[in-house]
Symmetry: C4
Subunit: 199 residues, 4 copies
């Protein structure tokens, strides 16, 4: 993945990574059971990207800003370490400004990932804007970077990789994963507990 | 998306947008649990299209006409604001004429989206006919417009966008979404209630 | 869809359409809940093909022959009108001969759809053999016709269409669906019961 | 599928086939119900590959080594005959060495299938390394063979086929499946019990 210099310059400044949920972190399918429970399809590459953010760049805040509401979104946001969650939020730009005030950041320090018209105000104003390759043309026209993946196919991970590369973190990540990472005592014990010979 | 003049002329007249359900609004997969409950996969772009219809073109009536029956279809039809729901309906053209009489409309004011042979009578008679790109050849031959998306991939949204463009509504939609939409007091309160700092 | 003459000549004789289940009628994904319940993904175009078989060619027997066993398979086989169901059957060619004896048919009157090595004995001996385009090379080499669709993407429907075309039934099907099919009194009542104005 | 000589030479030595789970044996989608239950999508071609391993090459040990933990993974590992299961294991190379000691094997007798950065240490050291075609570039650079399939699309099966071909087993498999395999008394009875005429 070759990234244009202009994108890297914008990515260098990012201290808040905000994203829509449905159609970005999920594949945009809506499945509702008779019980009212929703089933959402998340991506394993994105999950790892949240781990990378926590372990290598905890100074970058994470926000999920969605027009809908769902207990599953709240549960997963907590699980992956999201700092700010806005649900049932139609005015996403106000939500972003709200966070900027609390974190003492400026709008060019914000990256946003969105996939539809409702995201246009934020996408056109934030420092670095992403959308999936299946987004409507008007959204594609408004962003800095169209991801290689479609909705729910690791597009959050693509954004994290670009930000990490621009901020000199990606090399460190690769070095650590390329050599056998020493495990702490705690992890070793855990590994022993869960490892077992089946047959 | 460049739309042919002939399509726009037909779309200009539409006052009833009727559609099949399985294979149009869903991806055509059938999943039935042991309990008998069905799982259906809807699309997030289509959902937004229903919101657009309600907010910008409430004079266009919406009908779902399907050969099957399912409590989930009834629940979602209500949720997204469908005006007429026909389930277990094998004679779709009669259903359409039924609505025309009630709404005092003519057949050239009807757009229909269908994906299989059973939809041929309506598709060949209504004012503007759509099918997904994975439909059988005989259905493709009968429609005015084959969508870019496959079953369940936002093809209802494609139809709405064409109708909106032909009726001069799309520009207004984009203008509203491009500028930060002012939120009402009610929405603000709601936003505050659901917004929270997780960590 | 242009079908080779040699295929049509073989298809003309078919009086038994037998098929594997997983990877043919379903997409080959295995989903097992903690309760042990399996979730299978069937196709809406295939379902319609079973209706066509019952309504237009009831002299063609339908058999499902699968190496696995599942209550959902039994339930759906009944629902779509399968004549013979063999589950946990590893010797599919014997199952086919068993049916031939009961129905007084010969092996060249059998069409079979399979997607893996276990289907090779039947595929290489039956009158007309199909596999999905994602099947292993050894299976593709053994069949008469590789479908345009992948596992679970309407490949049973493709087989039915070919058989119907070869036996002169397809034209009749299209004629009936192209003109508004008259509905019976019973269907009309049913339609009225399930039709309703939502708003 | 034409396999390079260098790959076959490496595959010839394999006596332990170890693999990651999410994103290799599954499609990398994460689905978590409100109850906490996870839904995973496995592949029907992979399942058959496990059967082939048990029936034709029981001297090849199978290990699943995953960074996560799930009761479903444990259940399926048992079902398909996995010899070693490591869950919540972050240090996969240590897990592999642990098995090597128990089985008295060397690292060049190990094949590993991984799809992300966490698998890099094992992939770069083991005898034969595989990844799916949707893996990140850094992972693709580290492996001997990039599969034709994506995550969860039979990539374990691809690995088994290559190992079988290199070890002269594949021909035997094909011969057995091409001729009608004689079934044992036990299987015959079972078949009779589950076979039934529906109509």
């Amino acid at each position: 993945m070759k990234i244009r210099k202009a994108i890297l310059n914008k990515a260098k400044k990012i201290k808040l990574l905000a994203t829509d949920v449905d159609g970005v972190l999920t594949d945009g399918k809506i499945v509702i059971l008779n019980s009212g429970e929703e089933i959402k399809f998340w991506d394993v590459y994105d999950r790892f990207a949240f781990t990378l953010l926590r372990n290598y760049a905890s100074y970058i805040k994470i926000a999920w800003i969605t027009g809908r509401t769902s207990p599953q979104v709240a549960a997963r946001a907590k699980e992956v370490g999201v700092n700010y969650l806005y649900q049932k939020c139609m005015d996403k730009i106000s939500a972003v400004h709200d966070i900027l005030k609390k974190e003492n950041l400026t709008i060019d320090e914000v990256a946003f990932i969105g996939d539809d018209l409702i995201d246009l105000p934020v996408l056109s104003k934030c420092g670095l804007a992403f959308c999936p390759k299946n987004a409507p043309e008007e959204v594609k026209d408004a962003v800095d970077y169209i991801t290689n993946g479609k909705s729910g196919e690791g597009i959050f991970r693509e954004a994290v990789e670009i930000i990490f590369k621009s901020q000199g973190i990606w090399k460190k990540v690769l070095e650590n994963y390329r050599r056998s990472i020493r495990i702490s005592k705690a992890t070793q014990n855990h590994t022993e507990k869960t490892q077992k010979k089946i047959q």
